[in-house]
Symmetry: C2
Subunit: 125 residues, 2 copies
Amino acid sequence: MKMIRNESLPNIEECTDSLRNVIDALYVLNGKWKLAVILCLVRSSKRFNEIQHEVTGISSKVLAKELKDLELNGFIRRNVYPTTPVSIIYEATDYSRTLKNVIGELSIWGQQHREKVKQSMRKQS
Amino acid sequence: MKMIRNESLPNIEECTDSLRNVIDALYVLNGKWKLAVILCLVRSSKRFNEIQHEVTGISSKVLAKELKDLELNGFIRRNVYPTTPVSIIYEATDYSRTLKNVIGELSIWGQQHREKVKQSMRKQS
DNA sequence: GTAAGCGCTTACCTTTGGGTAAGTAGTAAC
DNA sequence: GTTACTACTTACCCAAAGGTAAGCGCTTAC
């Protein structure tokens, strides 16, 4: 029943291993805000309200959740400075920067994909 | 108030453009099953029930939805052959193969991330 | 002492994604 | 004519993600 075969492809075990890796990666990057927050902090360290102002549209509830999440995953650090009142400054770790290639490829592909979608919408109308 | 600055980074417009691209890309790859279905069809063209058998755990409802979605986005083609009864064969397009680099980077990073998570869990216990 | 800023938390609601189970139109085999 | 297969669709349910709005403990400014 399998009519077309592409023998140059990896075998099924390599495929499912790779799929697991990809799904793990997507799990971390997923959600409406995670990458925006990471990028915002990679650009410069910031305080809670500064982040909320720069990442337009995010609510404090969601931002607090994302920051906890990102800290747990090692993408950012929460620094508490003993000023009065304490200043809390969020900082991207070097680990955030390991996402560079992933984000690069996603950005290239995403741009190209949007072009393609635009063109096919023009054709249909 | 911005205490640490990294001047080698792109400016904010480039950043938000790139972010939009990345989010568009993630939107397409997102969900529990999309990539599994794409990879399954890239390996060889198949019929509905064959896909459902290979992608273990997917329900017919979700598979039907994903196939429609993937067809709309140009990743797969739905070929109807006028046998009696008609055979419907799903086939990955060349466009699915443009995901190669993206999936490659995601897989590399995802694997490395899982290693990291494992190690930090060992440390904590 | 009242208002305003900081860094959140809480309660409540809606939307979305996905799971289960059953059904359906068409065909073919027995 | 009953059963089974194919390619789905439909109805119903649940959990997670995210939005809205309000509040809270603390501090400083007026």
